[in-house]
Symmetry: C2
Subunit: 388 residues, 2 copies
C-alpha cells in the first residue's frame, strides 16, 4: 500500500502560492465569522411566527397538519439553536419537492419488520422529518420497556438537524443517537471522487444542573450546508474542505455536486486521520442504508436519505440522578480547562447551540434576507396565510 | 465565542522555520513508513508460539488459565492483524501490573445490574480483556434473543485492540460495536491541557464474499501507541499529532504523559473539525465511563479503562444474506474509486489488517527485537516455559 494522500493542508503538492492565495493566515478567523448571520444579511423574527409559516407552507402543498407541525417544530428548533443551514429557510425546497412529486405526500410511514427492541420502517418516500421523529419515538418507547430501542428507516428524505432526534431521548432521561446517510459528496481516504455522503452522527445525553450534552457532526470536514452558505454569502472556503479530482484544494464554493470535486473526510490527510472520517461515514451508511436496505451512498439520488435512531434507557444500567451528576462533573471539568492562547474558553458539545437558543428565544431568529423573501413569496404563491 | 484554535497544521503561529524543521515535505511518506516493523527491527515468529508464550507469562503471575487464554487470543489477533502497538509485546507490562497488584488477579467479573438487553459489569480491577470479551459475549447472546445487547463495564483496565470485540459479533452475523475510555492524553478543542483519553471507537459488520468491514479508530489524530512506537523506533512525529500547553507543535515523541503537552483531537484545528474528534471522545467517555459509573477521563488513573460493547442482530431487521450482499456491493464500489494521484488504491476499513493477517499467518508475526527480548526474559524470570 502506498500511503500518500496528497490533498489538504499537509500536501507537498500545494504550492506555497496556492496555499497563500487560498488561505491567508490573517483572515482565517474572519472566514468562519463570515458564515455567521448578522443584521447585515438577515432579519430577526419570532420563533412562533416562523413555526406557523413553515407549517402553513407545508400544508399549502398538501402535507397533513400533523406532519407539517412535526416538520415545523424540528426546522424551528434548528433555527433557534443557530444551525441555520438546517433551519426554516429550507421549507421552500421541501415544498417544491412535494409539488414536483419527488416527495410523496401524504406519506405512509410503514413498519416493515419489528421486534420488542427493533424496527425497520419505510418513510413512504415522504418528509424525512416525519419518519425520523416517529422512529425516535418508537426507539424511546422500546427503550423504556426493554432497555434499548433501535429503528432504521428506508425510502426517506432529508431529516434536517440530526441532533434534534437524540435530544428527544435526552428529554426522557435517555441517551439518544441518530445518523442519516446521503448521496455522495465526500471522497474516500486516498480516493479522488465523491463516493460517500456527509453522513452525520448525532448523540445526546442528559446532564443535571449543566446543559445536556448534544453532539452533531458531519463525518466530512464540514457539513455541506456550510459550503452552500459560503456560496450564498459569497465568501471563500478554507483550504481543507474540498478538492478537485486531481487533489487540488478548492476555496470557491462550487454550485453543484459533480465528479469533478469532493468534500474531504474529517481528518483530510492520511497522516491526520482521513481514514477515520471516511470510516465513520461508512458506519453511517451501514446502519442507515445497509441495515435498512434503503441503500448506501452511491445507490442514493440527491435528496434521498436513510436514517437510524437509537435510545438507551439509562435507568436500566444505573441510577439516573447519579448518571446526571457525573455528567455535570465532566462538563464542569471540561469548562475549567485552560484555553489555548487566543481562545476564550473550552466548550462542550451543545454549548454554542444552547447559547444561540437563549438569545434567539429572547431576541428572535435571524433569517437570511433571501430566504425570508423566498418564504414570503412561497406563502403568497400558495395562497396561505403570511405570518412573517 | 472566539473561534481561534491555533494549534496544528493550519496555525498562523507556527513559524515557517518550525514547520520546515518539523515536517520536511519530502520525508512525509517516510515518517509513516518508519513506524512499520521490518527485518531490521523485528523477528518473525509463529502466531501459535506467541500465543503459548503470552498465556504462559500471564499464568506465571497467577492468571487463571481461561483468562490467560482469552487475553492471549486477543493479543495475538492484534499482532496477526498488524496492530503491533496493541500486540503480544504488551504482555510484559500486563504481567508487571498483575505482579505489583495494580491488577487484581484472579479477577471476579461481576454483574451489577442486568435486563434482557442490558448489563452493567464490574471488571473486578483485573485484566480488561477478560471482562470486555465476556461483555461482548453477553451482548451477542442478548442480541440473538432480543435483537440488541449492550454491556458497559466499570473497574477495568486495558482491553487491547478494540476492534477485536466487534469482530466477535460480525463472526455471528451481527453488527458489533465497542469503545473504551482512558485517562487524559488529548486536549479538548480550544483547550490547552490533556483532559480526554484517546478513547477509541470500533465497529464491525459482516460482508458476504468481500472481507468484513472492521473499523477501529482513536478519537485523537493518532492512537497513543503510535507515539510510543515512534519513540521506541527513534523517529519524529508529523506536525499535528501533539502540542505543548502553549499550542506549539511537538515532533519529538515525549516519554511520559504530563500537563505540559497534549495529543490533538481528530480534526486538529477548529476550521478542520477539532470539535468533532473532541466530541467523539466524550461520546466514548459517556457510554463507557458515565453509563457504567466507572468514571470519565480525568477521574481515571493511567491504566484504568472502562468499556462499552453492543451487538445488533441483523436478522431482526432484514435478511442477513441480503444485508451481506449489499455490503459486498458497497465495498466493491469503494474499491473501484479512482485513487488520488500518487495513491495506489482506495481501501475499506479492515483491508490493511486483513492483508497483514494473511501475510503473518503464512510468514510469521514480526515482533520488535526489544519486545522479543523482554518477553523471553520475562518468561525466564518467572520460570515458565520459553516458546519463542
Amino acid at each position: 500500500m502506498r500511503i500518500c494522500d496528497r490533498t489538504g493542508v499537509h500536501s507537498a503538492k500545494i504550492s506555497p502560492k496556492i496555499r497563500a492565495l487560498n488561505n491567508p493566515p490573517e483572515t482565517k478567523t474572519q472566514l468562519l465569522e463570515n458564515l455567521k448571520l448578522d443584521d447585515s444579511n438577515s432579519i430577526r423574527l419570532p420563533a412562533a411566527d416562523l413555526h406557523r409559516q413553515v407549517s402553513a407552507i407545508l400544508q399549502g402543498v398538501g402535507t397533513p397538519p400533523e406532519h407539517a407541525e412535526t416538520t415545523a417544530k424540528i426546522l424551528v428548533s434548528a433555527s433557534l439553536r443557530g444551525v441555520d443551514t438546517h433551519g426554516v429557510g429550507n421549507v421552500v425546497r421541501y415544498s417544491q419537492s412535494i409539488e414536483d412529486d419527488t416527495y410523496t405526500v401524504p406519506q405512509i410511514v410503514e413498519t416493515i419488520s419489528e421486534t420488542d427492541t427493533t424496527a425497520l420502517l419505510s418513510c413512504g418516500n415522504g418528509l424525512g422529518f416525519v419518519a425520523a421523529h416517529h422512529g425516535m419515538e418508537m426507539s424511546i418507547a422500546k427503550a423504556r420497556e426493554f432497555g434499548i430501542g433501535m429503528v432504521t428507516i428506508r425510502d426517506g428524505h432529508h431529516i434536517g438537524m440530526v441532533g434534534y432526534y437524540p435530544m428527544m431521548a435526552a428529554d426522557e432521561d435517555m441517551i439518544g443517537m441518530a445518523m442519516t446517510n446521503a448521496s455522495p459528496a465526500v471522497r474516500p481516504a486516498l480516493g479522488a471522487r465523491p463516493r460517500v455522503g456527509t453522513n452525520p452522527i448525532a448523540f445526546a445525553a442528559p446532564a443535571g444542573k449543566e446543559r445536556d450534552f448534544v453532539f452533531d457532526m458531519a463525518t466530512s470536514t464540514v457539513a455541506s450546508g456550510k459550503i452552500a452558505l459560503a456560496r450564498r454569502l459569497g465568501v471563500p472556503m478554507p483550504v481543507g474542505w474540498a478538492v478537485t479530482a486531481e487533489g487540488e484544494p478548492i476555496t470557491v464554493p462550487p454550485a453543484d455536486r459533480s465528479e469533478a470535486w469532493s468534500m474531504n473526510p474529517l481528518g483530510n490527510t492520511r497522516e491526520q486521520g482521513s481514514h477515520k472520517g471516511y470510516g465513520l461515514g461508512l458506519v453511517v451508511d451501514i446502519l442507515c442504508g445497509v441495515l435498512s436496505g434503503g441503500g448506501f451512498g452511491t445507490q442514493l439520488s440527491a435528496g434521498e436519505n436513510m436514517t437510524w435512531t437509537m435510545a438507551i434507557d439509562i435507568s436500566k444500567f444505573r441510577d439516573v440522578d447519579d448518571f446526571k451528576s457525573m455528567m455535570d462533573d465532566m462538563i464542569r471539568e471540561l469548562h475549567a480547562t485552560p484555553a489555548l492562547p487566543g481562545a476564550d474558553r473550552v466548550l462542550v458539545a451543545g454549548d454554542p447551540e444552547a447559547d444561540a437558543a437563549e438569545d434567539r428565544t429572547l431576541n428572535g431568529v435571524p433569517v437570511e434576507h433571501r430566504q425570508y423573501d423566498e418564504m414570503r413569496q412561497r406563502a403568497v404563491g400558495l395562497g396561505v396565510e403570511v405570518f412573517i
